[in-house]
Protein backbone atom coordinates (compact mmCIF):
# COMPACT_ATOMS: atom_id res chain seq x y z
CA UNK A 1 0.00 0.00 0.00
CA UNK A 2 2.82 2.37 0.99
CA UNK A 3 4.73 1.45 -2.17
CA UNK A 4 1.67 2.15 -4.33
CA UNK A 5 1.22 5.60 -2.69
CA UNK A 6 4.89 6.35 -3.33
CA UNK A 7 4.51 5.46 -6.99
CA UNK A 8 1.53 7.80 -7.32
CA UNK A 9 3.49 10.56 -5.61
CA UNK A 10 6.39 9.99 -8.02
CA UNK A 11 4.06 10.38 -10.98
CA UNK A 12 2.44 13.47 -9.47
CA UNK A 13 5.66 15.36 -8.91
CA UNK A 14 6.89 14.45 -12.41
CA UNK A 15 3.56 15.44 -13.94
CA UNK A 16 3.45 18.78 -12.08
CA UNK A 17 6.91 20.00 -13.05
CA UNK A 18 6.73 18.62 -16.60
CA UNK A 19 3.51 20.62 -17.03
CA UNK A 20 5.32 23.66 -15.66
CA UNK A 21 8.10 23.39 -18.25
CA UNK A 22 5.63 22.67 -21.08
CA UNK A 23 3.68 25.84 -20.24
CA UNK A 24 6.89 27.88 -19.98
CA UNK A 25 8.09 26.85 -23.42
CA UNK A 26 4.57 26.96 -24.90
CA UNK A 27 4.28 30.61 -23.89
CA UNK A 28 7.24 31.36 -26.13
CA UNK A 29 4.88 30.91 -29.08
CA UNK A 30 3.51 34.36 -28.24
CA UNK A 31 6.59 35.80 -30.01
CA UNK A 32 5.90 34.23 -33.45
CA UNK A 33 2.19 35.01 -32.97
CA UNK A 34 3.02 38.71 -32.55
CA UNK A 35 5.34 38.59 -35.56
CA UNK A 36 2.68 36.87 -37.66
CA UNK A 37 0.16 39.55 -36.57
CA UNK A 38 2.59 42.36 -37.41
CA UNK A 39 3.50 40.91 -40.82
CA UNK A 40 -0.06 39.73 -41.50
CA UNK A 41 0.97 36.10 -42.03
CA UNK A 42 -2.51 34.61 -41.62
CA UNK A 43 -1.85 30.90 -42.00
CA UNK A 44 1.16 30.78 -39.65
CA UNK A 45 -0.86 32.85 -37.17
CA UNK A 46 -3.61 30.22 -37.08
CA UNK A 47 -1.00 27.43 -36.85
CA UNK A 48 0.64 29.05 -33.84
CA UNK A 49 -2.69 29.80 -32.11
CA UNK A 50 -3.64 26.13 -32.47
CA UNK A 51 -0.22 25.02 -31.22
CA UNK A 52 -0.08 27.35 -28.20
CA UNK A 53 -3.56 26.24 -27.16
CA UNK A 54 -2.64 22.56 -27.34
CA UNK A 55 0.61 23.20 -25.41
CA UNK A 56 -1.09 25.22 -22.67
CA UNK A 57 -3.98 22.76 -22.31
CA UNK A 58 -1.62 19.79 -22.00
CA UNK A 59 0.65 21.75 -19.64
CA UNK A 60 -2.26 22.72 -17.37
CA UNK A 61 -3.66 19.17 -17.39
CA UNK A 62 -0.26 17.84 -16.30
CA UNK A 63 -0.01 20.47 -13.56
CA UNK A 64 -3.54 19.77 -12.31
CA UNK A 65 -2.84 16.02 -12.25
CA UNK A 66 0.20 16.59 -10.09
CA UNK A 67 -1.05 19.56 -8.13
CA UNK A 68 -2.80 18.16 -5.04
CA UNK A 69 0.21 16.90 -3.20
CA UNK A 70 2.94 19.15 -4.50
CA UNK A 71 3.67 20.78 -1.14
CA UNK A 72 4.21 17.43 0.53
CA UNK A 73 6.32 15.87 -2.20
CA UNK A 74 10.05 16.06 -2.03
CA UNK A 75 11.75 16.26 -5.43
CA UNK A 76 14.24 13.40 -5.47
CA UNK A 77 17.13 12.96 -7.89
CA UNK A 78 15.17 10.48 -10.00
CA UNK A 79 12.30 12.99 -10.27
CA UNK A 80 14.58 15.81 -11.42
CA UNK A 81 16.24 13.67 -14.05
CA UNK A 82 12.97 12.17 -15.32
CA UNK A 83 11.31 15.62 -15.46
CA UNK A 84 14.15 17.03 -17.57
CA UNK A 85 14.28 14.15 -20.03
CA UNK A 86 10.47 13.74 -20.27
CA UNK A 87 9.95 17.47 -20.82
CA UNK A 88 12.25 17.37 -23.82
CA UNK A 89 10.20 14.59 -25.45
CA UNK A 90 6.89 16.34 -24.77
CA UNK A 91 8.21 19.66 -26.03
CA UNK A 92 9.58 18.04 -29.18
CA UNK A 93 6.08 16.78 -30.02
CA UNK A 94 4.27 20.00 -29.07
CA UNK A 95 6.69 22.39 -30.77
CA UNK A 96 6.55 20.28 -33.94
CA UNK A 97 2.85 21.13 -34.42
CA UNK A 98 3.38 24.56 -36.11
CA UNK A 99 6.07 22.99 -38.30
CA UNK A 100 3.74 20.24 -39.41
CA UNK A 101 0.79 22.58 -39.98
CA UNK A 102 2.95 24.84 -42.17
CA UNK A 103 2.98 22.26 -45.01
CA UNK A 104 6.75 22.58 -45.22
CA UNK A 105 7.24 19.15 -43.66
CA UNK A 106 6.69 15.84 -45.42
CA UNK A 107 5.67 14.02 -42.22
CA UNK A 108 5.22 14.63 -38.49
CA UNK A 109 8.39 12.59 -37.88
CA UNK A 110 10.31 15.09 -40.02
CA UNK A 111 8.81 17.95 -37.98
CA UNK A 112 9.93 16.21 -34.75
CA UNK A 113 13.38 15.75 -36.30
CA UNK A 114 13.68 19.47 -37.00
CA UNK A 115 12.45 20.47 -33.53
CA UNK A 116 14.84 18.08 -31.80
CA UNK A 117 17.60 19.42 -34.05
CA UNK A 118 16.68 22.95 -32.92
CA UNK A 119 16.35 22.19 -29.22
CA UNK A 120 19.61 20.26 -29.11
CA UNK A 121 21.32 23.04 -31.13
CA UNK A 122 22.25 20.55 -33.82
CA UNK A 123 21.17 22.35 -36.98
CA UNK A 124 20.44 19.63 -39.54
CA UNK A 125 16.95 19.96 -40.98
CA UNK A 126 14.41 18.23 -43.20
CA UNK A 127 12.22 21.27 -43.73
CA UNK A 128 11.34 21.84 -47.38
CA UNK A 129 11.59 25.11 -49.28
CA UNK A 130 13.21 27.05 -46.44
CA UNK A 131 13.69 30.15 -48.61
CA UNK A 132 9.90 30.61 -48.81
CA UNK A 133 9.18 29.91 -45.15
CA UNK A 134 7.11 32.51 -43.29
CA UNK A 135 9.13 34.92 -41.13
CA UNK A 136 7.22 33.93 -37.99
CA UNK A 137 8.01 30.22 -38.40
CA UNK A 138 11.62 30.97 -39.29
CA UNK A 139 11.96 33.11 -36.15
CA UNK A 140 10.34 30.24 -34.20
CA UNK A 141 13.06 27.87 -35.48
CA UNK A 142 15.72 30.24 -34.18
CA UNK A 143 13.94 30.85 -30.87
CA UNK A 144 13.87 27.08 -30.34
CA UNK A 145 17.59 26.81 -30.96
CA UNK A 146 18.35 29.83 -28.74
CA UNK A 147 16.23 28.49 -25.89
CA UNK A 148 17.54 24.96 -26.42
CA UNK A 149 21.09 26.24 -26.02
CA UNK A 150 20.35 27.50 -22.56
CA UNK A 151 17.89 24.69 -21.85
CA UNK A 152 14.12 24.65 -21.43
CA UNK A 153 14.40 23.60 -17.79
CA UNK A 154 16.76 26.54 -17.22
CA UNK A 155 14.16 28.78 -18.86
CA UNK A 156 11.31 27.52 -16.67
CA UNK A 157 13.42 27.69 -13.51
CA UNK A 158 14.52 31.23 -14.36
CA UNK A 159 11.29 32.91 -15.19
CA UNK A 160 8.43 30.88 -13.77
CA UNK A 161 9.19 29.21 -10.52
CA UNK A 162 9.44 30.98 -7.21
CA UNK A 163 10.54 27.82 -5.43
CA UNK A 164 14.01 26.39 -5.51
CA UNK A 165 13.17 23.03 -3.96
CA UNK A 166 14.40 20.34 -6.32
CA UNK A 167 15.52 22.88 -8.89
CA UNK A 168 19.14 21.73 -8.92
CA UNK A 169 18.11 18.16 -9.72
CA UNK A 170 16.17 19.27 -12.80
CA UNK A 171 18.98 21.62 -13.80
CA UNK A 172 21.51 18.75 -13.65
CA UNK A 173 19.10 16.54 -15.59
CA UNK A 174 19.45 18.89 -18.54
CA UNK A 175 23.18 18.27 -18.85
CA UNK A 176 24.44 21.28 -16.91
CA UNK A 177 26.09 20.50 -13.61
CA UNK A 178 28.04 23.59 -12.67
CA UNK A 179 26.76 25.61 -9.72
CA UNK A 180 27.85 29.14 -10.60
CA UNK A 181 26.07 30.55 -7.57
CA UNK A 182 24.93 28.84 -4.36
CA UNK A 183 21.28 29.12 -5.38
CA UNK A 184 20.17 27.17 -8.48
CA UNK A 185 17.56 29.74 -9.51
CA UNK A 186 20.23 32.43 -9.44
CA UNK A 187 22.54 30.21 -11.47
CA UNK A 188 19.88 29.75 -14.15
CA UNK A 189 19.13 33.47 -14.07
CA UNK A 190 22.81 34.21 -14.50
CA UNK A 191 22.92 31.93 -17.56
CA UNK A 192 20.00 33.84 -19.07
CA UNK A 193 21.45 37.19 -18.06
CA UNK A 194 24.73 36.43 -19.88
CA UNK A 195 22.84 35.12 -22.93
CA UNK A 196 20.52 38.13 -23.12
CA UNK A 197 23.42 40.60 -22.83
CA UNK A 198 25.09 38.82 -25.74
CA UNK A 199 21.77 38.67 -27.63
CA UNK A 200 21.52 42.46 -27.58
CA UNK A 201 25.18 43.05 -28.45
CA UNK A 202 25.34 40.26 -31.05
CA UNK A 203 22.11 41.19 -32.85
CA UNK A 204 23.29 44.80 -33.01
CA UNK A 205 26.69 43.81 -34.48
CA UNK A 206 25.06 41.53 -37.08
CA UNK A 207 22.49 44.22 -37.89
CA UNK A 208 25.24 46.78 -38.63
CA UNK A 209 27.19 44.16 -40.59
CA UNK A 210 24.07 43.20 -42.53
CA UNK A 211 23.45 46.82 -43.55
CA UNK A 212 27.11 47.12 -44.65
CA UNK A 213 26.80 44.07 -46.91
CA UNK A 214 23.66 45.45 -48.54
CA UNK A 215 20.64 44.17 -46.60
CA UNK A 216 17.88 46.67 -45.85
CA UNK A 217 17.67 47.65 -42.15
CA UNK A 218 14.61 45.53 -41.30
CA UNK A 219 15.95 42.51 -43.16
CA UNK A 220 19.38 43.03 -41.55
CA UNK A 221 17.71 42.97 -38.12
CA UNK A 222 15.82 39.75 -38.94
CA UNK A 223 18.94 38.04 -40.30
CA UNK A 224 21.01 39.48 -37.44
CA UNK A 225 18.71 37.99 -34.79
CA UNK A 226 18.49 34.62 -36.54
CA UNK A 227 22.21 34.28 -37.17
CA UNK A 228 23.13 35.48 -33.67
CA UNK A 229 20.64 33.07 -32.04
CA UNK A 230 22.19 30.23 -34.03
CA UNK A 231 25.79 31.32 -33.45
CA UNK A 232 25.42 31.86 -29.70
CA UNK A 233 23.57 28.58 -29.24
CA UNK A 234 26.07 26.82 -31.50
CA UNK A 235 22.95 25.80 -33.43
CA UNK A 236 23.81 26.22 -37.09
CA UNK A 237 20.36 27.09 -38.42
CA UNK A 238 20.22 29.93 -40.90
CA UNK A 239 17.19 31.79 -42.22
CA UNK A 240 18.11 30.82 -45.79
CA UNK A 241 18.76 27.39 -47.27
CA UNK A 242 22.28 28.35 -48.35
CA UNK A 243 23.19 29.01 -44.73
CA UNK A 244 26.34 31.18 -44.49
CA UNK A 245 26.91 31.02 -48.25
CA UNK A 246 23.90 33.32 -48.65
CA UNK A 247 25.83 36.29 -47.19
CA UNK A 248 29.03 35.76 -49.15
CA UNK A 249 30.82 38.05 -46.72
CA UNK A 250 34.16 37.56 -44.94
CA UNK A 251 33.22 40.07 -42.22
CA UNK A 252 29.92 38.27 -41.54
CA UNK A 253 31.81 34.97 -41.27
CA UNK A 254 34.40 36.42 -38.87
CA UNK A 255 31.67 37.86 -36.62
CA UNK A 256 29.91 34.48 -36.56
CA UNK A 257 33.20 32.79 -35.58
CA UNK A 258 33.66 35.19 -32.66
CA UNK A 259 30.13 34.64 -31.36
CA UNK A 260 29.96 30.88 -31.81
CA UNK A 261 33.38 30.52 -30.18
CA UNK A 262 32.18 32.59 -27.21
CA UNK A 263 28.94 30.59 -27.18
CA UNK A 264 30.93 27.36 -26.92
CA UNK A 265 32.63 28.57 -23.71
CA UNK A 266 31.55 27.49 -20.25
CA UNK A 267 29.05 29.81 -18.51
CA UNK A 268 31.31 29.53 -15.46
CA UNK A 269 34.14 30.94 -17.55
CA UNK A 270 31.97 33.90 -18.67
CA UNK A 271 31.10 34.57 -15.05
CA UNK A 272 34.71 34.57 -13.82
CA UNK A 273 35.90 36.72 -16.74
CA UNK A 274 33.08 39.21 -16.14
CA UNK A 275 34.10 39.26 -12.50
CA UNK A 276 37.53 40.47 -13.68
CA UNK A 277 39.57 37.26 -13.44
CA UNK A 278 42.13 37.57 -16.25
CA UNK A 279 44.11 34.43 -15.43
CA UNK A 280 41.24 31.99 -15.98
CA UNK A 281 41.84 31.91 -19.75
CA UNK A 282 45.19 30.10 -19.42
CA UNK A 283 44.78 28.41 -16.03
CA UNK A 284 41.50 26.63 -16.76
CA UNK A 285 41.99 23.01 -17.86
CA UNK A 286 38.97 23.24 -20.15
CA UNK A 287 40.31 26.31 -21.96
CA UNK A 288 43.70 24.63 -22.37
CA UNK A 289 42.11 21.47 -23.75
CA UNK A 290 39.68 23.39 -26.00
CA UNK A 291 42.30 25.64 -27.57
CA UNK A 292 44.92 22.90 -27.96
CA UNK A 293 42.47 20.59 -29.77
CA UNK A 294 41.33 23.51 -31.95
CA UNK A 295 44.93 24.29 -32.92
CA UNK A 296 45.80 20.66 -33.65
CA UNK A 297 42.65 19.88 -35.66
CA UNK A 298 42.83 23.19 -37.59
CA UNK A 299 46.45 22.45 -38.48
CA UNK A 300 45.54 18.96 -39.68
CA UNK A 301 42.58 20.15 -41.76
CA UNK A 302 44.71 22.84 -43.44
CA UNK A 303 47.39 20.21 -44.13
CA UNK A 304 44.78 17.88 -45.64
CA UNK A 305 43.27 20.60 -47.83
CA UNK A 306 46.67 21.84 -48.98
CA UNK A 307 47.70 18.31 -49.92
CA UNK A 308 44.94 18.17 -52.53
CA UNK A 309 45.20 21.89 -53.45
CA UNK A 310 41.49 22.24 -52.71
CA UNK A 311 41.63 26.03 -52.35
CA UNK A 312 43.87 28.43 -54.29
CA UNK A 313 45.25 30.54 -51.40
CA UNK A 314 45.54 30.84 -47.62
CA UNK A 315 42.54 33.19 -47.25
CA UNK A 316 40.27 30.79 -49.14
CA UNK A 317 41.61 27.85 -47.08
CA UNK A 318 40.93 29.82 -43.90
CA UNK A 319 37.44 30.90 -44.99
CA UNK A 320 36.37 27.41 -45.98
CA UNK A 321 38.65 24.97 -44.14
CA UNK A 322 39.36 26.62 -40.79
CA UNK A 323 35.86 28.13 -40.65
CA UNK A 324 34.35 24.68 -41.24
CA UNK A 325 36.63 23.16 -38.62
CA UNK A 326 35.77 25.81 -36.01
CA UNK A 327 32.10 25.39 -36.84
CA UNK A 328 32.51 21.62 -36.32
CA UNK A 329 34.63 21.83 -33.15
CA UNK A 330 32.29 24.29 -31.44
CA UNK A 331 29.39 22.07 -32.65
CA UNK A 332 27.79 25.03 -34.42
CA UNK A 333 27.28 23.66 -37.90
CA UNK A 334 27.33 26.84 -39.97
CA UNK A 335 28.28 25.89 -43.51
CA UNK A 336 29.92 28.01 -46.17
CA UNK A 337 30.54 25.05 -48.48
CA UNK A 338 27.87 22.82 -50.00
CA UNK A 339 27.31 19.49 -48.22
CA UNK A 340 28.58 17.39 -51.10
CA UNK A 341 31.78 19.45 -51.34
CA UNK A 342 32.97 17.79 -48.13
CA UNK A 343 32.62 14.37 -49.73
CA UNK A 344 33.81 15.25 -53.22
CA UNK A 345 36.58 17.82 -52.63
CA UNK A 346 37.97 17.72 -49.10
CA UNK A 347 39.53 14.25 -49.13
CA UNK A 348 39.25 11.47 -46.54
CA UNK A 349 41.90 12.87 -44.18
CA UNK A 350 40.15 16.22 -43.64
CA UNK A 351 36.78 14.49 -43.19
CA UNK A 352 38.22 12.20 -40.47
CA UNK A 353 39.73 15.22 -38.67
CA UNK A 354 36.39 17.05 -38.88
CA UNK A 355 34.65 13.97 -37.47
CA UNK A 356 37.04 13.89 -34.49
CA UNK A 357 36.55 17.64 -33.91
CA UNK A 358 32.75 17.20 -33.96
CA UNK A 359 32.94 14.45 -31.36
CA UNK A 360 35.16 16.50 -29.01
CA UNK A 361 32.85 19.52 -29.17
CA UNK A 362 32.86 22.66 -27.02
CA UNK A 363 32.95 23.33 -23.29
CA UNK A 364 30.82 21.79 -20.55
CA UNK A 365 27.93 23.90 -19.24
CA UNK A 366 27.81 25.88 -22.46
CA UNK A 367 25.46 25.76 -25.41
CA UNK A 368 27.81 23.39 -27.25
CA UNK A 369 27.60 19.63 -27.69
CA UNK A 370 30.12 16.81 -28.09
CA UNK A 371 31.76 15.01 -25.21
CA UNK A 372 33.27 18.34 -24.15
CA UNK A 373 36.76 19.76 -23.80
CA UNK A 374 36.61 19.48 -20.00
CA UNK A 375 36.27 15.70 -20.13
CA UNK A 376 39.07 15.42 -22.69
CA UNK A 377 41.28 17.52 -20.40
CA UNK A 378 40.39 15.50 -17.29
CA UNK A 379 40.96 12.13 -18.95
CA UNK A 380 44.26 13.32 -20.43
CA UNK A 381 45.36 14.68 -17.04
CA UNK A 382 44.21 11.39 -15.44
CA UNK A 383 46.48 9.44 -17.80
CA UNK A 384 49.43 11.75 -17.00
CA UNK A 385 48.70 11.37 -13.26
CA UNK A 386 48.66 7.57 -13.57
CA UNK A 387 52.01 7.61 -15.37
CA UNK A 388 53.51 9.90 -12.71
CA UNK A 389 52.14 7.68 -9.93
CA UNK A 390 53.84 4.69 -11.52
CA UNK A 391 57.15 6.52 -11.60
CA UNK A 392 57.27 7.72 -7.95
CA UNK A 393 57.97 5.59 -4.90
CA UNK A 394 55.06 3.36 -3.76
CA UNK A 395 55.15 4.83 -0.26
CA UNK A 396 54.64 8.35 -1.46
CA UNK A 397 51.09 9.62 -1.75
CA UNK A 398 50.75 12.35 -4.35
CA UNK A 399 47.58 14.36 -4.90
CA UNK A 400 46.90 15.70 -8.38
CA UNK A 401 44.85 18.82 -9.00
CA UNK A 402 43.33 20.63 -11.92
CA UNK A 403 41.95 24.14 -12.25
CA UNK A 404 38.42 24.63 -13.50
CA UNK A 405 36.95 27.86 -12.14
CA UNK A 406 38.64 26.83 -8.85
CA UNK A 407 41.35 24.32 -7.91
CA UNK A 408 39.92 20.82 -7.69
CA UNK A 409 41.33 17.44 -6.74
CA UNK A 410 41.70 14.99 -9.60
CA UNK A 411 40.36 11.82 -8.00
CA UNK A 412 39.66 8.58 -9.80
CA UNK A 413 35.87 9.10 -9.63
CA UNK A 414 36.10 12.31 -11.68
CA UNK A 415 38.29 10.61 -14.30
CA UNK A 416 36.03 7.54 -14.34
CA UNK A 417 32.79 9.50 -14.84
CA UNK A 418 34.38 11.58 -17.63
CA UNK A 419 35.68 8.44 -19.35
CA UNK A 420 32.24 6.79 -19.02
CA UNK A 421 30.45 9.68 -20.72
CA UNK A 422 33.05 9.66 -23.52
CA UNK A 423 32.48 5.91 -23.88
CA UNK A 424 28.70 6.43 -24.13
CA UNK A 425 29.22 9.04 -26.87
CA UNK A 426 31.51 6.68 -28.76
CA UNK A 427 28.97 3.82 -28.58
CA UNK A 428 26.24 6.15 -29.88
CA UNK A 429 28.53 7.39 -32.65
CA UNK A 430 29.55 3.85 -33.70
CA UNK A 431 25.88 2.76 -33.66
CA UNK A 432 24.96 5.62 -36.04
CA UNK A 433 27.89 4.83 -38.30
CA UNK A 434 26.93 1.15 -38.47
CA UNK A 435 23.29 1.99 -39.18
CA UNK A 436 24.33 4.34 -41.98
CA UNK A 437 26.51 1.59 -43.47
CA UNK A 438 23.58 -0.84 -43.18
CA UNK A 439 21.55 1.49 -45.39
CA UNK A 440 24.34 1.55 -47.97
CA UNK A 441 25.87 4.95 -47.22
CA UNK A 442 29.69 4.99 -47.54
CA UNK A 443 31.42 4.44 -44.18
CA UNK A 444 33.11 7.85 -44.08
CA UNK A 445 29.86 9.68 -44.85
CA UNK A 446 27.99 7.59 -42.27
CA UNK A 447 30.66 8.39 -39.66
CA UNK A 448 30.63 12.11 -40.49
CA UNK A 449 26.84 12.37 -40.24
CA UNK A 450 26.72 10.20 -37.12
CA UNK A 451 29.33 12.40 -35.39
CA UNK A 452 27.38 15.45 -36.48
CA UNK A 453 24.14 14.34 -34.80
CA UNK A 454 25.80 12.70 -31.77
CA UNK A 455 27.86 15.83 -31.08
CA UNK A 456 24.89 18.16 -31.85
CA UNK A 457 26.86 19.81 -34.63
CA UNK A 458 24.65 20.04 -37.70
CA UNK A 459 27.17 19.86 -40.51
CA UNK A 460 25.93 17.51 -43.19
CA UNK A 461 27.76 15.56 -45.82
CA UNK A 462 24.53 14.78 -47.62
CA UNK A 463 23.12 11.81 -45.70
CA UNK A 464 20.39 13.80 -43.93
CA UNK A 465 17.52 14.26 -46.36
CA UNK A 466 13.80 13.53 -46.53
CA UNK A 467 14.56 10.39 -48.53
CA UNK A 468 16.73 8.78 -45.88
CA UNK A 469 15.24 5.71 -44.15
CA UNK A 470 12.76 6.35 -41.31
CA UNK A 471 14.81 4.19 -38.93
CA UNK A 472 17.84 6.40 -39.52
CA UNK A 473 15.74 9.51 -38.88
CA UNK A 474 14.56 8.05 -35.56
CA UNK A 475 18.11 7.03 -34.62
CA UNK A 476 19.36 10.54 -35.35
CA UNK A 477 16.58 12.05 -33.20
CA UNK A 478 17.57 9.73 -30.34
CA UNK A 479 21.28 10.49 -30.88
CA UNK A 480 20.67 14.25 -30.76
CA UNK A 481 18.54 13.85 -27.62
CA UNK A 482 21.00 11.57 -25.81
CA UNK A 483 23.98 13.68 -26.86
CA UNK A 484 22.40 16.88 -25.57
CA UNK A 485 21.16 15.52 -22.24
CA UNK A 486 24.38 13.57 -21.75
CA UNK A 487 22.78 10.14 -21.26
CA UNK A 488 22.21 9.86 -17.50
CA UNK A 489 18.81 11.55 -17.24
CA UNK A 490 17.53 9.62 -20.28
CA UNK A 491 18.77 6.34 -18.77
CA UNK A 492 16.92 7.22 -15.55
CA UNK A 493 13.75 7.92 -17.57
CA UNK A 494 14.06 4.54 -19.30
CA UNK A 495 14.71 2.84 -15.95
CA UNK A 496 11.71 4.61 -14.44
CA UNK A 497 9.47 3.52 -17.34
CA UNK A 498 10.69 -0.09 -17.22
CA UNK A 499 10.19 -0.14 -13.43
CA UNK A 500 6.63 1.11 -13.89
CA UNK A 501 5.82 -1.53 -16.53
CA UNK A 502 7.28 -4.27 -14.32
CA UNK A 503 5.10 -3.21 -11.39
CA UNK A 504 1.98 -3.19 -13.57
CA UNK A 505 2.84 -6.68 -14.88
CA UNK A 506 3.52 -7.95 -11.34
CA UNK A 507 0.08 -6.71 -10.16
CA UNK A 508 -1.65 -8.58 -13.00
Amino acid sequence: MKQSKRNINDLKVISYYTGYIVIGTGLLMIIPILIALFLQEKEPLIDFIISINISLIIGFILMILGHSNKEKIYVEWKHGLVIASLSWIMLMILCAIPYYLSNHMVSFLDACFDVMSGFTTTGVFLLQDLDHLSVSLNVWRHILTFVGGQGMVVLALTFLTSKTQGAYKMYVGEGKDIALLPNTRNTTRLIWFISLVYLIIGTFVFWVNGIIIGLNPLSALYHGFCIFASAWSTGGFGPMSQNMLYYHSFSYEIVTVIFFMIGALNFGFHYTVWRGNKKEIYKNIEMQSFFITIMITSFLVVMGLNKFDVYPNAIATFRKGVYGLLSAHTTTGFMNVYARQFALEWGDFSIVVMTIAMLIGGCACSTAGGFKALRVGIVFKGIIADIKKSLVSENRVKTFKYHHIKDQVLDSDVVKSSALIILCYMILFIGGTLLGCFYNYPILESAFESASVTGNVGLSIGVTSITMPQVLKIYYIVAMYLGRLEFISVFVLIGFAIGGVKKICARK
Partner: protein
Protein backbone atom coordinates in the same frame (compact mmCIF):
# COMPACT_ATOMS: atom_id res chain seq x y z
CA UNK B 1 27.03 55.85 -15.38
CA UNK B 2 26.08 56.13 -11.72
CA UNK B 3 22.40 56.02 -12.68
CA UNK B 4 22.87 52.82 -14.65
CA UNK B 5 24.84 51.31 -11.79
CA UNK B 6 22.06 52.25 -9.39
CA UNK B 7 19.49 50.71 -11.70
CA UNK B 8 21.44 47.48 -11.83
CA UNK B 9 21.83 47.31 -8.09
CA UNK B 10 18.17 48.17 -7.60
CA UNK B 11 17.17 45.36 -9.92
CA UNK B 12 15.63 42.35 -8.21
CA UNK B 13 18.23 40.09 -9.75
CA UNK B 14 21.04 42.06 -8.10
CA UNK B 15 19.72 41.03 -4.71
CA UNK B 16 20.19 37.48 -5.82
CA UNK B 17 23.96 37.78 -6.26
CA UNK B 18 23.84 38.74 -9.95
CA UNK B 19 25.04 42.29 -9.53
CA UNK B 20 27.16 43.27 -12.48
CA UNK B 21 27.56 46.92 -13.32
CA UNK B 22 27.74 48.10 -16.91
CA UNK B 23 31.51 48.50 -16.81
CA UNK B 24 32.00 44.91 -15.67
CA UNK B 25 29.71 43.63 -18.39
CA UNK B 26 31.35 45.61 -21.19
CA UNK B 27 34.86 44.78 -19.98
CA UNK B 28 33.95 41.10 -19.76
CA UNK B 29 32.40 41.03 -23.23
CA UNK B 30 35.31 42.95 -24.78
CA UNK B 31 37.82 40.68 -23.08
CA UNK B 32 36.11 37.57 -24.47
CA UNK B 33 35.90 39.12 -27.95
CA UNK B 34 39.61 39.96 -27.68
CA UNK B 35 40.51 36.37 -26.72
CA UNK B 36 38.63 35.04 -29.72
CA UNK B 37 40.09 37.64 -32.08
CA UNK B 38 43.60 36.64 -30.97
CA UNK B 39 42.76 32.99 -31.66
CA UNK B 40 41.42 33.86 -35.12
CA UNK B 41 44.61 35.82 -35.94
CA UNK B 42 46.77 32.89 -34.74
CA UNK B 43 44.77 30.48 -36.92
CA UNK B 44 45.00 32.82 -39.90
CA UNK B 45 48.79 33.08 -39.51
CA UNK B 46 49.01 29.30 -39.08
CA UNK B 47 47.02 28.79 -42.30
CA UNK B 48 49.31 31.19 -44.13
CA UNK B 49 52.45 29.44 -42.84
CA UNK B 50 51.27 25.88 -43.56
Amino acid sequence: MLKIKKQFTKNKWSKSEISFNLKEILTGVLREVLYMSILIVILLVMTKLV
